[in-house]
Amino acid sequence: MHLSLEDLLAVRDGDATVDAVAHAESCPQCGAEIERLRAIQGRLAALPEQRPADDIWPSLRAELTARVQRRRWALAGWAAACVAAAFTLVIAVRGGLESWHEAQLVRETKVLVAASQQLEQRLRTHGGAGRVVNGRTADTIVQLEDRIAVVDAQLGRVGPERAQSQDVLELWQERVRLLDALVSVQTTRTAYVGL
């Protein structure tokens, strides 16, 4: 009785029983079957390589860029929230002692913090959602993000005693201005690519 297909494959792959190997060696028909199975294996491995019809790198690159940006803004949002929280805390503690001028500064700064948070929210929702960026736009985005990072670092170094100072107000003004520019770049790019 000849070997089953499973046994023939086991002989081909070198993990058959002694009996099966012995049969295969003495039976020309089974020997030929094993050679045929080996030939099929070789032909499968020799099938020509295939190439995707479209170049998927541009969309892949855009997706990678978008992921990096989403991650960056998730982190930036967290850092800015910490800065804003510390600021609010200081106002709460010193609230009763404010001079008129301090109160004015606090009000203005609060408005800027809120504006800043809104702009960041927009960046998180719309920022770089898998769209292709030309080199110049990418440079602008990187520069703006770097400058925002510098402002954040400065805000992070402000101690509680200086929380409502003209310096801090100006830092928040700068932050809002940069975020606003960044949103414009993102929006323009989006509109441009969408056309």
């Binding site: 491995a45 295939q50 995707p52």
Partner: protein, 214 residues
Amino acid sequence: MTLNLLEAATVLQAGEPTGVTTRATQMTTVDEVLVARAKAGNEAALEALFRHFEVPVYTLARRLTRTSHDAEDVLQETFLEVVRSIGRFRGDGSFEGWIRRVAASKALMKLRRQASRAPEEDLSEELADAVAAERAHGIAAIATAPERLDLQAALARLPDTARVVIWLHDVEGYSHDEIAAMAGKTASFSKSQLARAHARLREMLAPRLEGPCT
């Protein structure tokens, strides 16, 4: 039928095939420096890496999945996974082997998702093409086509599980034990699927080569 083999697809990433054969060794070795630069997020290095693996990974994906569209998805998903996990790649075992495992895993996950939605009997592209050719020109048109196209079309006609087993075992070099571990089944399940795949291939290939002329 259910594709139990595909349910444990992620396990595939745990082990490297031990009996790596022909195809798996054809990919040329990738520069360690390139990998290091890609790890650091260098865009040019990432593109170079993508170009290096684009065709082999697409080819593997094309063999395992049903359509060229599925294979492009798998290529994209594989590369995104590679970028996400490249920092955890330790450098023991080949980079190529790792990428192939990720690709096979992504392909199996796609098949599993499809199996839960669409019946496996769906015509694949090759089958559809072959059927169209048969209708247009009769069987002789296929018999005179290059033999390797016959084999490729026959492979595509196999049921998903049989196709995956024959490709992973006979070409990628996975052992029956490794395939069994992926499937949460026994090695004899993998052996019987391999035998089934070869039996089906023989049925599909033999009549065209030896069939009577009418």
